[in-house]
Amino acid sequence: MTTKGRRVSRREQHRIGGTGASVTVRNTLIAYAFMLPFLILLVVYHTWPVIFGSYLAFTKYNIISPPQWVGLDNFRELFADEQFWSGLRNSLKYVLVVPVIQVISILVALLVNRPLRGIGFFRTAYYVPVVTSFAVVGLIWSWLYKQGGAVNSILMGLGLMRGDHSLLDNPATALFAVMFVTLWKGIGYYMVLYLAGLQGISRELEEAATIDGATRSQVFWNITLPGLRPTILVCSLLSTISAIKVFEELYVMTPNGYPAGSTYSALMYSFSKAFGGDFNFGLAAAASMVVAVVSILFGLINFRLTKGGRSDA
């Protein structure tokens, strides 16, 4: 599971592949013929957006007339727009969901890693929200959050809430209410990844430590958790980046930043500038670029915090 081991094996695999058919013009043509359809679509829908999107950020463009170079104007407009800042702040606030979702997912993975009867049922059940679309999940939860709805009656029953008001209608709670849905939908996904990580940790090591008199919590902190570090890096990277790019759940549950812009995210800003009626693709691309840069920064922070995902302590 270590990055070093993986690199060696990949090189090894290259070597094995390399002993294949000899290099001839004919074989080269055949190889590229195999990859051609894939590569064409890859360039059109993956490479081109990166290149053209970066260019658009410095232009005025509305599809009808050709893009006009305007230098940093879009970025100036962006940074002068309070709406964009508020969107960016909400996107950063959304990162709060990351530690919560990771800790819970690890705990759930440890729980379903036990050899209990019927554990397969629970693993499957926890995965059902993952395979359901945000369109459906978002609708269901916006019903559950309604005034007089299930969430409110549970919260009031537990004494956690006074007065029956929908959490989605209150600017102070709306973002957190959507965050809970992200959490609920994401746990199953990260659970599976952590389960795979747990299965990569050697059982013998844990057992040897137990025989040597280590307590359960010592085993967890000194063997299991360090062994999970590569998985933690992958998972926290994935969830941080998707938190900063949060969009779909907000789009379904709290359209247009409802209420009072409290759920407006940075990508929602970009989206509404492009498709909200004024087709300001340049400004939208600039906003997307800022989101991209912020996610790269957070990705680097993740690398530092997990020590590059090395499993050795």
Partner: protein, 310 residues
């Protein structure tokens, strides 16, 4: 209580055995308690994960009553809301269903075919530029592509996929417009390449010596031996295409062309007076995905695990 399970002689004759037995019983009791606690937590989490779906199902089956309240059983049963979804709106629901099915068939076929083809030379052939192609694709996976939606929208329009000529051609082009942006799956390419690398090189060499062409090797050796990975990937893609809504919603001007997920949002927007019908629509949207997921659950989980270990 503890000594009933032990042979009497051992208890009487050997104090060490007695102690060991007591410890064992203690450990078993602790283990049983721990398992009971584990089950309690497992069940609680399962309730949190599944109740929202159950609540939607129950409410969609009720004809009247307090719509949003928490409930365990329906007050009355009726399929009226389900009939309403199909008849009571301007958007024909069966059409949305058909759109989703077509989009999924096209999408899954494209992505699996393209990835299974492209992964073969990258895993098993030697040609100039192989490492360059491989690492360029790797870089693409890491590069953030936030402008994807914006640029792909522009590309789709420039490619003329939304042009209007005849109804049938328009429909075909719009389906393509939905499917194509996701058709080259980098994750799929890596999964398949990994699967191919696990196939013994001797098999391929033997086939080459026998004069088999690369396409034959691919079809007769690689595809059958990589079937589990292909199945896992196909299920992943089915789920992705079935659930996609944003792209289709942004791009398709014709509401009759929307897939179910996107159509459901349309429904809830235009149909605010009858939430129960929208709930029925949600149930109909979930069921196919649940069936596919449960059928392919084993492959599915393996596929995900493979994607991380890559």
């Amino acid at each position: 209580m503890p000594d009933t399970t032990l042979p009497q002689t051992a208890l009487v004759s050997d104090p060490h055995a007695q102690l060991a037995a007591q410890l064992k019983v203690q450990r078993q009791r602790r283990e049983r308690l721990r398992n009971a606690a584990a089950y309690a937590v497992l069940i609680l989490i399962a309730l949190i994960m599944l109740y929202p779906f159950y609540w939607t199902l129950v409410t969609s089956l009720e004809p009247t009553g307090n719509i949003y309240e928490a409930k365990i059983l329906p007050k009355a049963l009726s399929l009226r809301n389900y009939a309403e979804v199909f008849s009571g709106t301007t958007v024909p629901f069966w059409r949305l269903f058909l759109n989703s099915v077509i989009i999924c068939i096209l999408g899954v076929t494209f992505t699996t075919t393209l990835a299974t083809l492209a992964a073969y030379p990258l895993a098993r052939m030697r040609f100039p530029g192989r490492d360059l192609v491989f690492y360029s694709i790797l870089i693409l996976m890491v590069l953030p592509n936030e402008a994807g939606l914006i640029v792909n929208y522009i590309t789709t329009i420039k490619l003329g996929l939304l042009a209007q000529t005849s109804p049938l051609a328009d429909a075909a082009r719009q389906y393509l417009a939905v499917v194509l942006p996701g058709a080259a799956s980098i994750v799929g390419l890596f999964l398949l390449r990994q699967a191919y690398l696990g196939i013994p090189q001797e098999l391929i060499e033997a086939a080459r010596i026998d004069g088999a062409r690369e396409l034959t090797i691919w079809r007769r050796i690689m595809l059958p031996l990589a079937t589990p990975t292909i199945a896992a990937f196909a299920i992943l893609e089915f789920v992705a295409y079935w659930n996609s809504f944003l792209w289709a919603r942004v791009m398709l001007p014709d509401k009759n062309m929307l897939p179910l997920s996107a159509g459901l949002l349309e429904l809830s927007g235009t149909f605010s007076t009858n939430s129960r019908a929208v709930m029925a629509g949600a149930v109909i949207t979930i069921i196919p995905i649940l069936i596919v997921f449960l059928m392919g659950q084993k492959y599915f989980m393996k596929g995900l695990e493979g994607a991380v270990k890559g």
